[in-house]
């Protein structure tokens, strides 16, 4: 009789073939059991669907002004009323999902790519390379975003999503790099790394084939949580007028109307919905991130 051995050198009963689950599938199953994570995924999916189907859900053109209908309260025609230029707040809320989600996601991807590259190199090599990269992050952290944005806008005269995302990434990579680096610092001391080094494997191979997969868990978790923070950052910048310029709607620049006391006090329908939208989206992303963290490594120490 032929005996087939599985990975752990135990005989498989050829009659009873059970599909063994890889670590990712196991993690996913675990994730699905986490009720808050599932809730988060549902909400996020909802937001994404709203963003995708915005043209069908919105009732008006979000950028079209109407000077005879400024500052109107909610009505059958305008579910959330109109803003100071007569634009429909509900449609702006719906389309705003697009900008916030796209910017949040792309800024996150951009930053993670930079952060993983630099963080892994920094954490693995240590020494001078680490010092240089860390000092570079120190310098970048001191970069006044305001000055930089002013400069960019004055030179380019246009601020589109790509430019804005690049600027966000440029300012955010230091934090992520430090986090990834910390992970790699821990991993470096693991025995299998030392044995890989002894075996003479190239550094690149060690980093990419051996460390990175093990770092994937914290990277994914950090990436997810970071996307949430990018959404908040975009909103904050739009709030103070340094974000995506009008008339494009973003949840952040909708809220900047609330800096005016009349809006703050008497038109809560203009600023509370976008605020709640940000809150819900970020919260659901956080839930997913936490769920991933629990699922991927239950003993993973929180930062």
């Amino acid at each position: 009789m032929e005996v087939t051995l599985n990975q752990t050198n135990q005989p498989i009963n050829p009659r009873k073939k059970r599909k063994s689950l890889g670590p990712w599938q196991l993690a996913f199953k675990k994730l699905l059991k986490n009720k808050t994570a599932v809730f988060g995924m549902a909400v996020l999916t909802f937001m994404v669907l709203v963003a995708i189907f915005a043209p069908f859900i919105a009732t008006h053109d979000p950028e079209k002004s109407n000077l005879s209908m400024t500052n109107k309260p909610p009505s059958k025609e305008h579910y959330l009323g109109t803003d100071g230029s007569g634009r429909d707040a509900f449609s702006r809320l719906v389309y705003g999902a697009r900008i916030s989600l796209i910017i949040g996601f792309s800024a996150m991807v951009f930053t993670i790519v930079i952060g993983v590259t630099l963080g892994s190199i920094s954490g693995y090599y240590g020494g001078i390379i680490d010092s240089i990269i860390m000092r570079l992050t120190d310098v970048m952290l001191n970069f006044p975003f305001l000055l930089f944005v002013l400069l960019i806008v004055s030179i380019l005269k246009k601020v589109n999503m790509l430019i804005f995302v690049s600027v966000l990434a440029l300012v955010s990579w230091p934090t992520i790099t430090r986090l990834i680096r910390a992970t790699f610092l821990s991993l470096r001391e693991q025995e299998y790394i030392m044995s890989a080094q002894t075996l003479g494997l190239s550094d690149a191979r060690i980093i990419f084939r051996h460390m990175l997969p093990n770092a994937m868990a914290p990277i994914i978790v950090n990436a997810t949580l970071f996307m949430a923070s990018m959404i908040i950052t975009e909103a904050a910048l739009s709030f103070i007028g340094f974000g995506i310029p009008q008339p494009a709607p973003s949840w952040g620049n909708m809220m900047s109307d609330a800096l005016n006391v009349r809006v703050l006090r008497f038109q809560p329908w203009l600023w509370i919905p976008p605020g709640m939208a940000i809150l819900l989206t970020v919260m659901s992303i956080n839930f997913i991130g936490d769920g991933l963290r629990d699922a991927l490594d239950p003993r993973f120490k929180k930062e």
Binding site: F145, L185, A258, L259, L264, I278, L279, M283, N286
Partner: protein, 320 residues
């Protein structure tokens, strides 16, 4: 470790120099100068030109930089181009507000997060725990300007419990302790706004710390020995809690200037953040440089503290 720390501190100097050069160039590259924005037709151009000469704005940029740097080393922050007063005066007027705001928010964070975190940890999955967790999730997800607006809307405008603006009640002539209390009253809402994220993070940390410590073997041993469980756990949790407090301090310090910008705007608090935004709009280079350098020192020191503590917390991490 000590060697590493010393090296880092010494290493800060070239970094600060590099940062100052970059910042200076960046500020100068933005079009305009203090005398060119929002013109007043009553003031003739040659008057403005003479002002530029007087303040050295027509000198080549490296010359301007050296003149600024040589004064900075001696501790002279220069004179504000817009206010015509020493920059150090302007900063002193506002730094106390920023510092008070920062300490208040740190205080609020600790006062709320530690007891509630422990309470949650002791009674996991009960009502107390769930409400705490819900609040902390909201706190983490809440953009801080939204929090500020909500606080003003509900607690200041609707309920009138706190003032919506400023740091003191003017015309009331309070002094000494009463003045201090008045300031605290005004800064409570902004401090709460700034502290929201920190409180939520710290709450979760305390809760997980407590849970982790409570499950450890030595606790069971101590219990078996007859020591009251609570005392043992508190002693150990609180001791562990001390370390990240310093990390939190490092983080707060690093964010001292930048983090409060929006909050200072919403609550009309004259702090360093607002000063910075104004001076960027006015192209007031001495103030821009001074505030940025202060912020830079704060960030560098804060990060150094955080790094040192990473290695204390996790002894496996070594710095070469």
């Amino acid at each position: 470790m000590l060697q590493y720390t010393v090296r880092r501190v010494i290493g800060m100097i070239p970094i600060l120099i590099l940062i100052s050069i970059l910042l200076f160039s960046l500020a100068k590259m933005v079009p305009g100068d203090p005398f060119s924005g929002d013109p007043d037709p009553k003031i003739k151009r040659d008057v403005l030109e003479r002002q530029r000469e007087l303040w050295g704005l027509n000198d080549p940029i490296p010359v301007q930089y050296m003149s600024w740097a040589s004064k900075m080393i001696k501790g002279d922050f220069g004179v504000s181009l817009r206010y015509k007063r020493p920059v150090s005066d302007l900063i002193n007027e506002r730094i106390s507000n920023t510092l008070l705001l920062g300490s208040m928010s740190l205080f609020i964070t600790l006062v709320i997060a530690i007891p509630f975190g422990i309470a949650s940890g002791r009674r996991p999955y009960t009502l107390v725990d769930y409400s705490g967790t819900v609040f902390s999730n909201i706190g983490l997800a809440m953009p801080n300007f939204f929090m500020g607006l909500l606080l003003i809307y509900f607690l200041a405008i609707k309920l009138g419990m706190f003032p919506a603006q400023g740091t003191i009640t003017s015309g009331a002539d309070y002094t000494g302790f009463r003045l201090f209390l008045d300031k605290l009253h005004h800064l409570f809402l902004p401090a709460l706004t700034i502290g929201t994220t920190g409180t939520a993070t710290y709450f979760r940390y305390m809760r997980s710390e407590y849970l982790e410590v409570a499950g450890r073997d030595f606790i069971r041993t101590a219990k078996a020995k007859g020591l009251p469980e609570r005392m043992v756990v508190y002693k150990h949790t609180l001791r562990n809690a001390m370390i990240p407090i310093i990390t939190l301090l490092g983080f707060e310090l690093a964010n001292l200037v930048g983090g409060a910008i929006i909050t200072e705007q919403i609550f009309a608090i004259p702090g360093l953040g607002r000063l910075f935004i104004e001076s960027v709009g006015n192209r007031d280079y001495p103030i821009i440089m001074a505030v940025s350098m202060i912020s830079a020192v704060a960030i560098l020191v804060g990060n150094l503290l955080a790094d040192i503590l990473y290695s204390v917390v996790d002894p496996r991490i070594r710095y070469y």
